[in-house]
């Protein structure tokens, strides 16, 4: 992003701001870049609506409930691990009697 102050509705400027909206929402931009985007959003209805719906999209994804693990998955997993562990162990010593 440049430090200059281009006309707010210049399509190239709009595209530039639009391309950084996720970084803006994730607070990954420096202060100057944030201020530039905020200034743009105040004047550009399209980007403002996009930013609001993008923020909501992120919040919805973050709020997705987890799925329960299938009840018997742990049993099958334990069996597979035990099989592997058995393969790792040295063969039992032959009977001494």
């Amino acid at each position: 992003m440049t430090g200059a102050d281009p006309p707010e509705h210049d399509p190239a400027h709009c595209r530039e701001m639009f391309s950084h909206l996720s970084e803006y929402l994730d607070r990954e931009l420096d202060e100057i870049a944030c201020r530039q985007i905020e200034r743009h959003l105040r004047h550009c209805d399209a980007c403002r609506a996009c930013c609001a719906t993008l923020a909501r999209t992120v919040a919805l994804c973050q709020g997705m409930p987890p799925h329960a693990v299938p009840g018997d998955m742990a049993v099958r997993l334990r069996e597979a691990i035990e099989k592997l562990r058995a393969g790792d162990r040295p063969a039992p010593a032959p009977h001494s009697d």
Binding site: C14, R15, F18, S19, L21, S22, E23, D26, E28, D45, A46, C47, R48, A49, C50, A52, T53, L54, A55, R56, T57, V58, A59, L60, C61, Q62, G63, M64, P65, P66, H67, A68, V69, P70, M73, A74, R76, L77, R78, A80, I81, L84, R85
Partner: protein
């Protein structure tokens, strides 16, 4: 005084004491690791593969690999990040063995706001309280939208927005640059947003 290379690189990890115990011979405690991570890993698999059976296979292959190679883990990254890196490589191997939708590029141009009239206020679905919005139907729609994402973008979105990894961690897990993660994440989010816009404009059964 210069520190030994190993201690300089070693990072704080809540899993470290458990891993050290397992590697010291207390292999029964491996199940504590399984207990800790089986649910998030299953969810990750489900978001990436779409099928519970595939997700379960992925979880099993991942833990078997972790069991085999835990002794090689050097605490140079969080164990969790290493685990997801293994999970991701299991997903990639499995994907090569099956048919998947063709990969395609998501272009930023496809998502740029058009010249149409835009209301000064954001649409209702961007303002409604989240807990009133995210019902079963919407959850399913978001899951479908995530599965409709091209393969290049899906793991980035799942790791960042559903699993809560940072940009740097996601880059490490997927072997990408942080810049690449940011570009893919933005396009993936815009893709999901388009699906949600459609849903709220046409399919939502009650007003949002």
């Amino acid at each position: 005084m210069a520190q030994p290379q190993d201690s300089k690189r070693r990072i704080n990890d809540k899993d470290a004491p458990l891993i050290e115990a397992i590697n010291a011979g207390d292999t029964d405690r491996f199940y504590e690791l399984v207990q800790r991570y089986q649910q998030p890993l299953f969810n990750f698999g489900l978001r990436i593969c779409g099928q519970a059976a595939d997700a379960e296979d992925m979880v099993q292959d991942t833990f078997l690999n972790v069991f085999r190679y835990l002794k090689t883990f050097r605490f140079e990254s969080q164990f969790k990040n290493w685990l997801y890196r293994i999970a991701m490589s299991v997903c990639i191997k499995r994907r090569r063995r099956s048919k998947y939708a063709p990969e395609r590029e998501l272009s930023l141009e496809d998502f740029l706001p058009g010249d149409e009239q835009v209301a000064a206020e954001a649409p209702a679905w961007a303002r409604e309280p989240l807990d009133r919005l995210l019902d079963e139907e919407l959850t399913r729609r978001i899951e479908d939208a995530i599965l409709a994402l091209p393969e290049t973008y899906r793991p980035v979105l799942v790791l960042r927005d559903l699993e809560g990894f940072s940009t740097e961690e996601t880059a490490q897990i997927l072997n990408l640059t942080p810049g690449n993660v940011k570009v893919r994440l933005h396009r993936a989010r815009l893709f999901i947003r388009e699906q949600l816009k459609e849903y709220f404009a046409h399919d939502r059964s009650r007003p949002a």
